[in-house]
Amino acid sequence: MEDLEALLARQPFFRGMDPRWIAFLAGCARNVRFNAGEYLFHEGDEAIRFLLIRHGRVALETHVPGHGPVTIQTIGADDVVGWSWLFPPYRWIFDARAVELVRAVEFEAACIRQKCDQDPAFGYVMLMRLVPVIVSRLQATRLQLLDVYGVVAGRHAHTRA
């Protein structure tokens, strides 16, 4: 587990975390890889793991009837994929597809959830790291919805779209 521990400690997501917690997390983790086109998980499946991408890009997709898969967002190196494992009903709400070769660290969700329940200090540390990820995705989605590059109606758009 030594190698994985060192690797986790280097990830921005875990930077500054107490080595005890990193050692524990390494115990729930393993290195995984996905080839381009391979799915990390599917919508509706049970969210039994989450991933920290080390290399490559993952597309979050949803299937729109008549259109096929539509990419909502792509996520790259050092980012976390998925938080559906944190809250009931623990089901993925999107498909996640590797756009290119993806190397990631996969964490067993039950292992981490259990620890969060047993040890609120650990749970707090994990949430303090995960909530900003969720917030930044929410902010990004809102910005995406604003359609800032569209031609703005009204005299004073003052934007260089």
Binding site: R57, A59, T74, G76, A140, Y149, G150, V151, A161
Partner: protein, 278 residues
């Protein structure tokens, strides 16, 4: 610097050499230098382009500062004048004044990492800065270009992007808000790309241009990553009339954008950036 004509208020006639379509609503117009006279500009500066009988608009110069002629402008058709510019043909004549305004601090950035963040047509005024950095590549540290557009169809300067992506001494990341079928690139807002740009945030300069909302979010993200506020530079837009600091049309807080801008250090415009319709 070579400016056009003697009187900054009088447009000089310039002949259209070529109009290149960029996207469905954007084109690049190449103009011959008026009467064959010299022309030079600093990256980030703009010209006033006058379509006879219709009107005059400020447009950034999008060409190569090392080879400033023909004089290139990349224009998105949003209203009467820009639509008329898009309709220009080879041999047509427009009126030209310029170059005006402040520029990206390309010399001050020497020795540092450079992070360029562009949204939509905001890539146009950043292209000369990028070309300057590439022409003097050894004078800069790591260089990253992050570019966001609405859809893959709205990406400007595709040939440049492809060429730049092929370089080993450059990081180029492109993202779109809404993909189309077959798009295999990034999806999401350009600000989400900032944190994984391979530059030293503590030691880099960041040049940002795009819609104001996008610039606000980009600045917030840069500050979160500990980029020093005074190393963040933005290009702002306001409607202009005279472009020489006389009419007050382009007022932005205490500044006249045509004279002190359009390129500003973030701390200088920080107060006004979050106020709606300054």
């Amino acid at each position: 610097m070579h400016t056009l004509g003697r009187d900054a208020m009088v447009p000089v006639p310039a002949v259209v050499r070529r109009v290149r379509r960029q996207t469905r609503d954007t084109c690049t117009v190449d103009l011959d230098s008026p009467r064959g006279q010299g022309f030079s500009f600093r990256p980030g500066q703009f010209n006033m382009v006058y379509v006879f009988g219709i009107g005059e608009v400020p447009i950034s110069i999008s060409g190569n500062p090392q080879r400033p002629v023909p004089i290139s402008h990349t224009v998105r058709a949003v209203g009467a004048i820009t639509t008329a510019i898009r309709g220009l043909r080879r041999g047509d004549v427009v009126g030209l004044r310029g170059p005006f305004g402040s520029s990206w601090p390309v010399e001050a950035a020497e020795g540092m990492d450079v992070l360029i963040v562009a949204g939509g047509v905001g890539l146009a005024p950043l292209r000369p800065a990028m070309l300057h950095v590439l022409a003097n590549r050894e004078r800069y540290g790591r260089v990253a270009l992050l570019y966001g557009a609405r859809t893959p169809h709205d990406l400007l300067f595709r040939r440049d992007l492809e060429r730049w992506r092929g370089r080993f001494d450059l990081h180029v990341a492109v993202t779109v808000d809404a993909p189309v079928l077959g798009w295999n690139g990034g999806v999401g807002v350009v600000t989400a790309l900032i944190q994984s740009a391979p530059v030293d945030f503590a030691e880099c300069v960041a040049w940002v241009c795009g819609p104001e909302v996008m610039m606000r979010f980009a600045v917030a993200e840069l500050l979160r990553l500990r980029v020093a506020a005074e190393r963040i530079t933005l290009s702002m837009e306001r409607n202009m009339k005279c472009a020489v600091g006389l009419c007050g049309h382009c007022q932005y807080g205490p500044y006249l954008l045509c004279r002190e801008g359009p390129v500003f250090r973030y701390p200088d415009v920080q107060r006004w950036l979050t106020i709606k319709e300054v």
